[in-house]
Protein backbone atom coordinates (compact mmCIF):
# COMPACT_ATOMS: atom_id res chain seq x y z
CA UNK A 1 0.00 0.00 0.00
CA UNK A 2 2.72 2.44 1.07
CA UNK A 3 4.79 1.62 -2.01
CA UNK A 4 1.83 2.32 -4.27
CA UNK A 5 1.40 5.76 -2.66
CA UNK A 6 5.08 6.48 -3.10
CA UNK A 7 4.99 5.42 -6.73
CA UNK A 8 2.03 7.69 -7.39
CA UNK A 9 3.79 10.60 -5.67
CA UNK A 10 6.93 9.96 -7.72
CA UNK A 11 4.99 9.78 -10.99
CA UNK A 12 3.17 13.02 -10.20
CA UNK A 13 6.43 14.73 -9.24
CA UNK A 14 8.13 13.63 -12.46
CA UNK A 15 5.08 14.74 -14.42
CA UNK A 16 5.14 18.19 -12.85
CA UNK A 17 8.85 18.50 -13.47
CA UNK A 18 8.49 17.49 -17.12
CA UNK A 19 5.63 19.86 -17.78
CA UNK A 20 7.53 22.67 -16.06
CA UNK A 21 10.62 21.96 -18.18
CA UNK A 22 8.53 21.85 -21.35
CA UNK A 23 7.05 25.23 -20.45
CA UNK A 24 10.49 26.60 -19.77
CA UNK A 25 11.73 25.34 -23.13
CA UNK A 26 8.72 26.78 -24.89
CA UNK A 27 9.43 30.18 -23.36
CA UNK A 28 13.06 29.94 -24.44
CA UNK A 29 12.10 29.10 -28.02
CA UNK A 30 9.77 32.08 -28.05
CA UNK A 31 12.66 34.23 -26.85
CA UNK A 32 14.91 32.90 -29.63
CA UNK A 33 12.23 33.73 -32.21
CA UNK A 34 11.52 37.20 -30.87
CA UNK A 35 15.18 38.18 -30.55
CA UNK A 36 15.79 36.91 -34.08
CA UNK A 37 12.89 38.99 -35.37
CA UNK A 38 14.33 42.01 -33.57
CA UNK A 39 17.75 41.35 -35.09
CA UNK A 40 16.24 41.08 -38.58
CA UNK A 41 14.46 44.38 -38.09
CA UNK A 42 17.68 46.11 -37.01
CA UNK A 43 19.67 44.65 -39.92
CA UNK A 44 17.08 45.75 -42.45
CA UNK A 45 16.98 49.18 -40.86
CA UNK A 46 20.75 49.51 -41.09
CA UNK A 47 20.84 48.42 -44.73
CA UNK A 48 18.02 50.84 -45.58
CA UNK A 49 19.68 53.87 -44.03
CA UNK A 50 23.02 52.93 -45.62
CA UNK A 51 21.30 52.73 -49.00
CA UNK A 52 19.57 56.03 -48.37
CA UNK A 53 22.88 57.71 -47.61
CA UNK A 54 24.49 56.09 -50.64
CA UNK A 55 21.78 57.33 -52.96
CA UNK A 56 21.37 60.76 -51.35
CA UNK A 57 24.07 62.29 -53.50
CA UNK A 58 25.70 63.76 -50.40
CA UNK A 59 28.69 61.41 -50.50
CA UNK A 60 31.36 61.26 -53.20
CA UNK A 61 30.44 58.88 -56.04
CA UNK A 62 33.07 56.24 -55.20
CA UNK A 63 31.96 55.95 -51.57
CA UNK A 64 28.33 55.97 -52.67
CA UNK A 65 28.94 53.06 -55.01
CA UNK A 66 30.78 50.97 -52.40
CA UNK A 67 28.08 51.61 -49.81
CA UNK A 68 25.16 51.08 -52.16
CA UNK A 69 26.61 47.78 -53.36
CA UNK A 70 27.16 46.42 -49.87
CA UNK A 71 23.79 47.63 -48.58
CA UNK A 72 21.97 46.17 -51.56
CA UNK A 73 23.70 42.80 -51.19
CA UNK A 74 22.95 42.70 -47.47
CA UNK A 75 19.28 43.40 -47.99
CA UNK A 76 18.85 40.85 -50.72
CA UNK A 77 21.08 38.10 -49.33
CA UNK A 78 19.72 34.56 -49.07
CA UNK A 79 19.56 33.14 -45.55
CA UNK A 80 22.78 31.17 -45.99
CA UNK A 81 24.80 34.16 -47.22
CA UNK A 82 23.28 36.64 -44.85
CA UNK A 83 26.02 36.62 -42.20
CA UNK A 84 28.71 37.25 -44.81
CA UNK A 85 26.74 39.94 -46.62
CA UNK A 86 25.96 41.80 -43.39
CA UNK A 87 29.62 41.60 -42.34
CA UNK A 88 30.56 43.09 -45.72
CA UNK A 89 28.20 45.97 -45.10
CA UNK A 90 29.79 46.54 -41.68
CA UNK A 91 33.21 46.68 -43.33
CA UNK A 92 31.97 48.98 -46.08
CA UNK A 93 30.60 51.36 -43.45
CA UNK A 94 33.89 51.28 -41.55
CA UNK A 95 35.87 52.03 -44.72
CA UNK A 96 33.58 54.79 -45.97
CA UNK A 97 33.45 56.49 -42.57
CA UNK A 98 37.07 55.80 -41.63
CA UNK A 99 37.99 59.49 -41.73
CA UNK A 100 36.33 61.70 -39.09
CA UNK A 101 36.30 64.40 -41.80
CA UNK A 102 33.92 62.31 -43.90
CA UNK A 103 31.36 62.26 -41.08
CA UNK A 104 31.78 66.00 -40.43
CA UNK A 105 31.35 66.72 -44.11
CA UNK A 106 28.19 64.66 -44.39
CA UNK A 107 26.77 66.29 -41.26
CA UNK A 108 27.40 69.75 -42.67
CA UNK A 109 25.32 69.12 -45.80
CA UNK A 110 21.61 69.76 -46.04
CA UNK A 111 19.77 66.83 -44.42
CA UNK A 112 23.08 65.10 -43.69
CA UNK A 113 22.92 65.53 -39.93
CA UNK A 114 19.67 63.62 -39.77
CA UNK A 115 21.05 60.79 -41.92
CA UNK A 116 24.19 60.47 -39.77
CA UNK A 117 22.03 60.41 -36.65
CA UNK A 118 19.91 57.59 -38.04
CA UNK A 119 22.96 55.65 -39.16
CA UNK A 120 24.53 56.08 -35.73
CA UNK A 121 21.43 54.62 -34.10
CA UNK A 122 21.28 51.77 -36.60
CA UNK A 123 24.93 50.70 -36.24
CA UNK A 124 24.62 50.75 -32.46
CA UNK A 125 21.51 48.63 -32.34
CA UNK A 126 22.69 45.82 -34.60
CA UNK A 127 25.33 44.55 -32.13
CA UNK A 128 22.80 44.93 -29.31
CA UNK A 129 20.15 42.87 -31.05
CA UNK A 130 22.71 40.28 -32.09
CA UNK A 131 23.99 39.78 -28.54
CA UNK A 132 20.45 39.41 -27.23
CA UNK A 133 19.71 36.82 -29.90
CA UNK A 134 22.87 34.79 -29.35
CA UNK A 135 22.29 34.92 -25.62
CA UNK A 136 18.79 33.50 -26.10
CA UNK A 137 20.18 30.77 -28.36
CA UNK A 138 22.73 29.80 -25.74
CA UNK A 139 20.06 29.56 -23.01
CA UNK A 140 17.79 27.44 -25.18
CA UNK A 141 20.65 25.14 -26.16
CA UNK A 142 21.65 24.66 -22.51
CA UNK A 143 18.20 23.32 -21.68
CA UNK A 144 17.97 21.24 -24.85
CA UNK A 145 21.20 19.48 -23.97
CA UNK A 146 19.62 17.93 -20.83
CA UNK A 147 19.41 14.17 -21.23
CA UNK A 148 15.75 14.00 -20.21
CA UNK A 149 14.84 16.72 -22.71
CA UNK A 150 16.65 14.86 -25.49
CA UNK A 151 15.25 11.39 -24.76
CA UNK A 152 11.69 12.54 -24.27
CA UNK A 153 11.89 14.96 -27.20
CA UNK A 154 10.48 17.77 -25.10
CA UNK A 155 11.70 20.25 -27.72
CA UNK A 156 9.16 18.85 -30.19
CA UNK A 157 9.62 20.05 -33.74
CA UNK A 158 11.26 23.36 -32.87
CA UNK A 159 14.42 23.73 -34.97
CA UNK A 160 17.74 23.61 -33.17
CA UNK A 161 18.55 27.27 -32.43
CA UNK A 162 21.56 28.75 -34.24
CA UNK A 163 23.53 31.86 -33.39
CA UNK A 164 23.99 34.69 -35.85
CA UNK A 165 27.70 35.32 -36.41
CA UNK A 166 28.89 38.48 -38.11
CA UNK A 167 31.31 41.38 -37.86
CA UNK A 168 29.24 44.16 -36.29
CA UNK A 169 31.90 46.51 -35.00
CA UNK A 170 30.62 50.02 -35.59
CA UNK A 171 32.80 52.63 -37.31
CA UNK A 172 34.74 54.37 -34.49
CA UNK A 173 33.97 57.74 -36.05
CA UNK A 174 30.27 57.20 -35.39
CA UNK A 175 30.71 56.63 -31.64
CA UNK A 176 29.47 59.46 -29.43
CA UNK A 177 32.43 61.77 -28.91
CA UNK A 178 34.35 59.99 -31.66
CA UNK A 179 33.66 62.42 -34.48
CA UNK A 180 35.59 65.32 -33.01
CA UNK A 181 38.91 63.47 -32.88
CA UNK A 182 41.29 65.26 -35.20
Amino acid sequence: MMTAVWIIIAVVAVGIYLSWTAGRLDRLHARVDSTRAALDAQLVRRASIALEIATSGLLDPASSLVLAGAAHDARGAAEDDREIAESELTRALRIVFEEPGQVEDLRARLGGDELVGELQTAVRRVPMARRFHNDAVRSARAVRRHRLVRYLRLAGHAPYPVTFEMDDEEPPTLLPGGTATG
Partner: protein, 378 residues
Protein backbone atom coordinates in the same frame (compact mmCIF):
# COMPACT_ATOMS: atom_id res chain seq x y z
CA UNK B 1 6.12 53.36 -23.42
CA UNK B 2 5.11 51.94 -20.03
CA UNK B 3 8.27 50.96 -18.20
CA UNK B 4 8.58 49.19 -14.85
CA UNK B 5 11.97 49.49 -13.13
CA UNK B 6 13.00 47.29 -10.21
CA UNK B 7 15.71 48.48 -7.83
CA UNK B 8 16.83 45.83 -5.31
CA UNK B 9 18.45 48.22 -2.83
CA UNK B 10 16.77 50.49 -0.30
CA UNK B 11 15.73 53.84 -1.71
CA UNK B 12 16.60 55.53 1.61
CA UNK B 13 20.27 54.46 1.47
CA UNK B 14 22.44 56.30 -1.06
CA UNK B 15 24.29 54.08 -3.54
CA UNK B 16 25.41 53.82 -7.14
CA UNK B 17 22.55 51.59 -8.30
CA UNK B 18 19.95 53.81 -6.63
CA UNK B 19 21.37 56.97 -8.27
CA UNK B 20 21.46 55.23 -11.63
CA UNK B 21 17.82 54.14 -11.32
CA UNK B 22 16.77 57.63 -10.19
CA UNK B 23 18.55 59.39 -13.07
CA UNK B 24 17.25 56.87 -15.59
CA UNK B 25 13.68 57.31 -14.36
CA UNK B 26 13.99 61.10 -14.55
CA UNK B 27 15.47 60.92 -18.05
CA UNK B 28 12.69 58.64 -19.30
CA UNK B 29 9.93 60.68 -17.66
CA UNK B 30 11.31 63.87 -19.21
CA UNK B 31 10.85 62.19 -22.59
CA UNK B 32 7.22 61.41 -21.95
CA UNK B 33 7.49 57.76 -20.91
CA UNK B 34 5.41 56.26 -18.16
CA UNK B 35 7.78 55.00 -15.45
CA UNK B 36 7.14 53.16 -12.21
CA UNK B 37 10.04 52.19 -9.94
CA UNK B 38 9.65 49.42 -7.37
CA UNK B 39 12.19 49.72 -4.55
CA UNK B 40 12.50 48.73 -0.90
CA UNK B 41 11.82 51.69 1.39
CA UNK B 42 10.68 52.26 4.94
CA UNK B 43 7.00 53.11 5.03
CA UNK B 44 7.65 56.61 6.37
CA UNK B 45 10.35 57.58 3.83
CA UNK B 46 9.17 60.35 1.49
CA UNK B 47 9.35 58.96 -2.05
CA UNK B 48 9.21 60.66 -5.45
CA UNK B 49 5.81 60.14 -7.15
CA UNK B 50 7.16 57.49 -9.55
CA UNK B 51 8.53 55.21 -6.80
CA UNK B 52 6.43 52.45 -5.27
CA UNK B 53 7.70 51.29 -1.90
CA UNK B 54 7.99 47.54 -1.40
CA UNK B 55 8.34 47.58 2.35
CA UNK B 56 11.27 47.61 4.69
CA UNK B 57 14.44 45.79 3.67
CA UNK B 58 16.11 43.38 6.08
CA UNK B 59 19.89 43.44 6.55
CA UNK B 60 21.21 40.00 5.61
CA UNK B 61 24.68 38.64 5.19
CA UNK B 62 24.97 37.57 1.56
CA UNK B 63 27.96 36.95 -0.70
CA UNK B 64 30.51 38.34 1.74
CA UNK B 65 28.85 41.57 2.77
CA UNK B 66 25.75 42.75 4.56
CA UNK B 67 23.06 43.83 2.16
CA UNK B 68 19.60 45.15 2.89
CA UNK B 69 17.21 42.94 0.96
CA UNK B 70 13.55 42.03 0.56
CA UNK B 71 12.33 38.49 0.27
CA UNK B 72 9.67 36.12 1.45
CA UNK B 73 6.05 35.45 0.74
CA UNK B 74 4.76 39.01 1.35
CA UNK B 75 7.37 40.66 -0.84
CA UNK B 76 6.71 38.17 -3.61
CA UNK B 77 3.00 38.98 -3.50
CA UNK B 78 3.71 42.71 -3.63
CA UNK B 79 5.99 42.29 -6.62
CA UNK B 80 3.40 40.20 -8.43
CA UNK B 81 0.67 42.76 -7.77
CA UNK B 82 2.90 45.65 -8.94
CA UNK B 83 3.71 43.83 -12.19
CA UNK B 84 0.08 42.94 -12.75
CA UNK B 85 -1.25 46.45 -12.04
CA UNK B 86 1.53 48.13 -14.00
CA UNK B 87 0.81 46.31 -17.26
CA UNK B 88 4.27 47.31 -18.48
CA UNK B 89 5.55 47.18 -22.06
CA UNK B 90 8.96 46.37 -20.68
CA UNK B 91 10.29 45.46 -17.26
CA UNK B 92 13.80 46.68 -16.42
CA UNK B 93 15.35 44.77 -13.52
CA UNK B 94 18.57 45.87 -11.86
CA UNK B 95 20.94 43.29 -10.36
CA UNK B 96 18.60 40.35 -11.10
CA UNK B 97 20.85 37.85 -9.33
CA UNK B 98 20.43 39.39 -5.87
CA UNK B 99 17.99 37.50 -3.61
CA UNK B 100 15.71 40.49 -3.40
CA UNK B 101 12.91 42.24 -5.28
CA UNK B 102 14.83 41.80 -8.51
CA UNK B 103 14.90 38.03 -8.42
CA UNK B 104 11.26 37.95 -7.33
CA UNK B 105 10.37 40.21 -10.25
CA UNK B 106 12.22 37.89 -12.60
CA UNK B 107 10.14 35.00 -11.32
CA UNK B 108 6.85 36.81 -11.77
CA UNK B 109 7.60 38.49 -15.08
CA UNK B 110 5.77 37.40 -18.20
CA UNK B 111 6.47 40.14 -20.75
CA UNK B 112 9.79 41.40 -22.16
CA UNK B 113 12.46 41.73 -19.47
CA UNK B 114 15.64 43.81 -19.60
CA UNK B 115 18.24 43.36 -16.87
CA UNK B 116 21.25 45.45 -15.88
CA UNK B 117 24.20 43.83 -14.09
CA UNK B 118 26.18 46.34 -12.03
CA UNK B 119 28.66 44.32 -9.99
CA UNK B 120 31.82 42.57 -10.89
CA UNK B 121 32.83 39.90 -8.41
CA UNK B 122 35.27 37.08 -8.72
CA UNK B 123 33.47 33.78 -9.16
CA UNK B 124 32.21 32.70 -5.74
CA UNK B 125 31.19 29.34 -4.29
CA UNK B 126 27.80 30.77 -3.35
CA UNK B 127 27.11 31.77 -6.94
CA UNK B 128 28.05 28.35 -8.26
CA UNK B 129 25.75 26.71 -5.73
CA UNK B 130 22.95 29.11 -6.60
CA UNK B 131 23.28 28.66 -10.36
CA UNK B 132 20.62 25.95 -10.85
CA UNK B 133 18.16 27.98 -8.75
CA UNK B 134 18.85 31.20 -10.62
CA UNK B 135 18.96 29.83 -14.15
CA UNK B 136 15.22 29.31 -14.83
CA UNK B 137 14.46 32.81 -13.52
CA UNK B 138 17.29 34.46 -15.43
CA UNK B 139 16.22 32.71 -18.64
CA UNK B 140 13.29 35.08 -18.84
CA UNK B 141 15.58 38.04 -19.42
CA UNK B 142 15.46 38.96 -23.11
CA UNK B 143 18.23 41.54 -22.98
CA UNK B 144 21.13 41.85 -20.60
CA UNK B 145 23.08 45.04 -20.02
CA UNK B 146 26.42 45.21 -18.20
CA UNK B 147 27.68 48.58 -16.95
CA UNK B 148 31.27 47.92 -17.98
CA UNK B 149 33.36 45.47 -19.98
CA UNK B 150 34.57 44.24 -16.57
CA UNK B 151 31.04 43.63 -15.29
CA UNK B 152 30.25 41.89 -18.57
CA UNK B 153 33.17 39.52 -18.10
CA UNK B 154 31.95 38.63 -14.58
CA UNK B 155 28.51 37.96 -15.97
CA UNK B 156 29.83 35.73 -18.75
CA UNK B 157 31.97 33.76 -16.29
CA UNK B 158 29.19 33.34 -13.73
CA UNK B 159 26.14 32.78 -15.85
CA UNK B 160 27.31 32.27 -19.41
CA UNK B 161 25.64 34.04 -22.30
CA UNK B 162 26.39 37.56 -23.31
CA UNK B 163 25.42 41.17 -22.62
CA UNK B 164 25.73 44.57 -24.23
CA UNK B 165 27.81 47.15 -22.43
CA UNK B 166 26.02 50.40 -21.62
CA UNK B 167 27.90 52.46 -19.05
CA UNK B 168 26.42 54.35 -16.13
CA UNK B 169 25.23 57.81 -17.08
CA UNK B 170 26.52 61.15 -15.89
CA UNK B 171 24.88 64.56 -16.20
CA UNK B 172 27.90 65.98 -18.02
CA UNK B 173 26.59 69.55 -18.28
CA UNK B 174 26.04 69.73 -14.50
CA UNK B 175 29.78 69.25 -13.96
CA UNK B 176 30.98 71.11 -17.04
CA UNK B 177 28.97 74.25 -16.20
CA UNK B 178 29.83 74.44 -12.48
CA UNK B 179 31.68 77.58 -11.37
CA UNK B 180 35.20 76.97 -10.02
CA UNK B 181 35.82 78.07 -6.43
CA UNK B 182 38.90 80.35 -6.16
CA UNK B 183 39.67 78.91 -2.72
CA UNK B 184 40.16 75.49 -4.30
CA UNK B 185 42.08 76.64 -7.37
CA UNK B 186 45.84 76.28 -7.46
CA UNK B 187 48.63 78.20 -9.14
CA UNK B 188 51.65 77.02 -11.14
CA UNK B 189 53.81 76.83 -8.01
CA UNK B 190 51.07 75.88 -5.57
CA UNK B 191 48.78 73.48 -7.45
CA UNK B 192 45.83 71.66 -5.89
CA UNK B 193 45.05 67.94 -5.89
CA UNK B 194 41.54 66.61 -5.28
CA UNK B 195 40.25 63.38 -3.73
CA UNK B 196 36.61 62.41 -3.21
CA UNK B 197 35.54 59.26 -1.37
CA UNK B 198 35.07 57.61 2.00
CA UNK B 199 38.12 58.48 4.11
CA UNK B 200 37.81 55.44 6.37
CA UNK B 201 37.37 52.93 3.53
CA UNK B 202 40.89 51.69 2.66
CA UNK B 203 39.71 50.45 -0.76
CA UNK B 204 39.09 54.06 -1.76
CA UNK B 205 42.86 54.45 -1.46
CA UNK B 206 43.34 57.60 0.61
CA UNK B 207 46.22 55.96 2.59
CA UNK B 208 48.15 55.49 -0.68
CA UNK B 209 47.69 59.14 -1.56
CA UNK B 210 48.70 60.20 1.96
CA UNK B 211 51.87 58.12 1.69
CA UNK B 212 52.69 59.75 -1.65
CA UNK B 213 51.97 63.29 -0.50
CA UNK B 214 55.35 64.10 1.18
CA UNK B 215 57.20 63.25 -2.04
CA UNK B 216 54.86 65.45 -4.10
CA UNK B 217 55.28 68.24 -1.53
CA UNK B 218 59.07 67.95 -1.85
CA UNK B 219 58.79 68.76 -5.58
CA UNK B 220 56.01 71.32 -5.15
CA UNK B 221 56.36 72.85 -1.67
CA UNK B 222 53.14 74.84 -2.05
CA UNK B 223 50.95 71.92 -3.18
CA UNK B 224 47.57 71.49 -1.48
CA UNK B 225 45.42 68.38 -1.15
CA UNK B 226 41.64 68.74 -0.86
CA UNK B 227 39.88 65.69 0.57
CA UNK B 228 36.10 65.37 0.48
CA UNK B 229 34.25 62.46 2.03
CA UNK B 230 32.91 60.93 5.19
CA UNK B 231 35.28 59.61 7.87
CA UNK B 232 37.64 60.57 10.64
CA UNK B 233 40.05 63.26 9.38
CA UNK B 234 42.32 63.01 12.45
CA UNK B 235 42.92 59.35 11.86
CA UNK B 236 43.53 59.78 8.14
CA UNK B 237 46.18 62.46 8.69
CA UNK B 238 47.93 60.53 11.48
CA UNK B 239 51.01 59.46 9.55
CA UNK B 240 51.48 62.80 7.83
CA UNK B 241 54.54 64.87 8.91
CA UNK B 242 53.41 67.83 11.07
CA UNK B 243 54.85 70.35 8.62
CA UNK B 244 52.49 69.16 5.89
CA UNK B 245 49.27 69.00 7.88
CA UNK B 246 48.35 72.55 6.95
CA UNK B 247 48.48 71.62 3.27
CA UNK B 248 45.81 68.95 3.54
CA UNK B 249 42.23 70.22 3.87
CA UNK B 250 39.42 67.90 4.90
CA UNK B 251 36.12 69.17 3.59
CA UNK B 252 33.92 66.44 5.09
CA UNK B 253 30.73 65.44 3.27
CA UNK B 254 29.97 67.81 0.40
CA UNK B 255 26.83 68.35 -1.68
CA UNK B 256 26.62 67.45 -5.38
CA UNK B 257 26.97 71.11 -6.32
CA UNK B 258 30.09 71.48 -4.18
CA UNK B 259 31.49 68.31 -5.66
CA UNK B 260 31.10 69.74 -9.16
CA UNK B 261 32.80 72.99 -8.11
CA UNK B 262 35.65 71.11 -6.44
CA UNK B 263 36.24 69.04 -9.59
CA UNK B 264 36.13 72.21 -11.70
CA UNK B 265 38.76 73.83 -9.48
CA UNK B 266 41.53 71.28 -8.88
CA UNK B 267 44.61 70.93 -11.09
CA UNK B 268 44.64 67.13 -10.87
CA UNK B 269 42.01 64.71 -9.59
CA UNK B 270 43.56 61.64 -7.97
CA UNK B 271 41.72 58.28 -7.77
CA UNK B 272 44.01 55.93 -5.83
CA UNK B 273 41.35 53.22 -5.31
CA UNK B 274 42.88 49.83 -4.60
CA UNK B 275 40.05 47.53 -5.72
CA UNK B 276 36.37 46.68 -5.69
CA UNK B 277 35.43 49.15 -8.41
CA UNK B 278 33.35 47.90 -11.31
CA UNK B 279 32.92 51.24 -13.03
CA UNK B 280 34.41 54.42 -11.58
CA UNK B 281 31.73 57.04 -12.14
CA UNK B 282 33.78 59.59 -10.21
CA UNK B 283 36.40 59.57 -12.98
CA UNK B 284 33.72 60.40 -15.54
CA UNK B 285 32.47 63.20 -13.29
CA UNK B 286 36.01 64.56 -12.92
CA UNK B 287 36.55 64.48 -16.70
CA UNK B 288 33.16 66.13 -17.25
CA UNK B 289 34.29 68.96 -14.98
CA UNK B 290 37.51 69.22 -16.98
CA UNK B 291 39.84 67.90 -14.27
CA UNK B 292 42.89 65.94 -15.49
CA UNK B 293 42.65 62.50 -13.90
CA UNK B 294 45.39 60.42 -12.30
CA UNK B 295 44.10 56.97 -11.33
CA UNK B 296 45.34 53.57 -10.18
CA UNK B 297 45.47 51.03 -12.99
CA UNK B 298 42.43 48.95 -11.93
CA UNK B 299 40.72 47.17 -14.83
CA UNK B 300 37.62 49.29 -14.44
CA UNK B 301 39.57 52.57 -14.34
CA UNK B 302 41.75 51.57 -17.26
CA UNK B 303 38.61 51.04 -19.28
CA UNK B 304 36.92 54.30 -18.29
CA UNK B 305 40.15 56.17 -19.10
CA UNK B 306 40.37 54.48 -22.50
CA UNK B 307 43.52 52.55 -21.61
CA UNK B 308 45.33 55.68 -20.37
CA UNK B 309 44.47 57.91 -23.32
CA UNK B 310 41.97 60.03 -21.39
CA UNK B 311 43.89 60.09 -18.09
CA UNK B 312 47.15 59.03 -16.46
CA UNK B 313 47.45 55.63 -14.76
CA UNK B 314 49.88 54.46 -12.06
CA UNK B 315 50.65 51.05 -10.55
CA UNK B 316 47.94 50.16 -8.06
CA UNK B 317 48.90 50.63 -4.35
CA UNK B 318 52.31 52.03 -5.28
CA UNK B 319 52.63 55.39 -3.47
CA UNK B 320 55.99 56.11 -5.14
CA UNK B 321 54.55 55.60 -8.62
CA UNK B 322 51.61 57.83 -7.70
CA UNK B 323 53.96 60.60 -6.52
CA UNK B 324 56.11 60.38 -9.67
CA UNK B 325 53.10 60.44 -11.96
CA UNK B 326 51.57 63.38 -10.07
CA UNK B 327 54.82 65.39 -10.23
CA UNK B 328 55.24 64.70 -13.95
CA UNK B 329 51.66 65.79 -14.59
CA UNK B 330 51.96 68.92 -12.43
CA UNK B 331 55.17 69.95 -14.25
CA UNK B 332 53.52 69.58 -17.64
CA UNK B 333 50.69 72.11 -18.19
CA UNK B 334 50.50 71.19 -21.88
CA UNK B 335 49.66 67.58 -21.04
CA UNK B 336 47.03 68.73 -18.55
CA UNK B 337 45.38 70.92 -21.16
CA UNK B 338 45.48 68.00 -23.57
CA UNK B 339 43.87 65.70 -20.96
CA UNK B 340 41.12 68.28 -20.31
CA UNK B 341 40.43 68.37 -24.06
CA UNK B 342 40.42 64.62 -24.58
CA UNK B 343 38.43 64.11 -21.39
CA UNK B 344 35.65 66.48 -22.34
CA UNK B 345 35.19 64.66 -25.67
CA UNK B 346 35.59 61.22 -24.13
CA UNK B 347 32.78 61.75 -21.58
CA UNK B 348 30.19 62.28 -24.29
CA UNK B 349 29.66 58.52 -24.40
CA UNK B 350 28.77 58.59 -20.69
CA UNK B 351 26.38 61.52 -20.96
CA UNK B 352 22.78 60.66 -20.11
CA UNK B 353 21.87 61.87 -23.58
CA UNK B 354 23.82 58.93 -25.08
CA UNK B 355 23.29 56.39 -22.30
CA UNK B 356 19.55 57.04 -22.05
CA UNK B 357 19.14 56.70 -25.81
CA UNK B 358 21.02 53.39 -25.74
CA UNK B 359 18.87 52.00 -22.93
CA UNK B 360 15.74 53.13 -24.74
CA UNK B 361 17.19 51.40 -27.81
CA UNK B 362 17.35 48.17 -25.84
CA UNK B 363 13.72 48.58 -24.76
CA UNK B 364 12.67 49.15 -28.36
CA UNK B 365 14.66 46.18 -29.63
CA UNK B 366 13.07 43.91 -27.05
CA UNK B 367 9.50 45.11 -27.50
CA UNK B 368 9.82 45.11 -31.31
CA UNK B 369 10.82 41.43 -31.16
CA UNK B 370 7.96 40.59 -28.81
CA UNK B 371 5.41 42.42 -30.98
CA UNK B 372 6.54 40.69 -34.14
CA UNK B 373 5.59 37.35 -32.58
CA UNK B 374 2.06 38.50 -31.94
CA UNK B 375 1.67 39.62 -35.52
CA UNK B 376 0.84 37.44 -38.54
CA UNK B 377 2.83 34.26 -38.99
CA UNK B 378 4.30 32.72 -35.89
Amino acid sequence: MRIGVVCPYSWDVPGGVQYHVRDLANWLIARGHDVSVLAPADDDTPLPPYVVGAGRAVPVRYNGSVARLNFGFLSAARVRRWIHDGDFDVLHIHEPATPSLSLLACWSASGPVVATFHTSNPRSRAMIAAYPILQPALEKISARIAVSEYARRTLVEHLGGDAVVIPNGVEVAFFADAAPDPAWQGTAVAPTLGFIGRIDEPRKGLPVLMAAFPKIAAAFPGVRLLVAGRGDAEEAAEDLPDALRGQVTFLGMISDAEKARLLRSVDVYVAPNTGGESFGIILVEAMSAGAPVLASDLDAFRQVLDGGRAGELFDNEDADALADAAITLLRNPARRTELRDIGSRHVRRYDWETVGADILGVYETVTAGADSLLGPGD
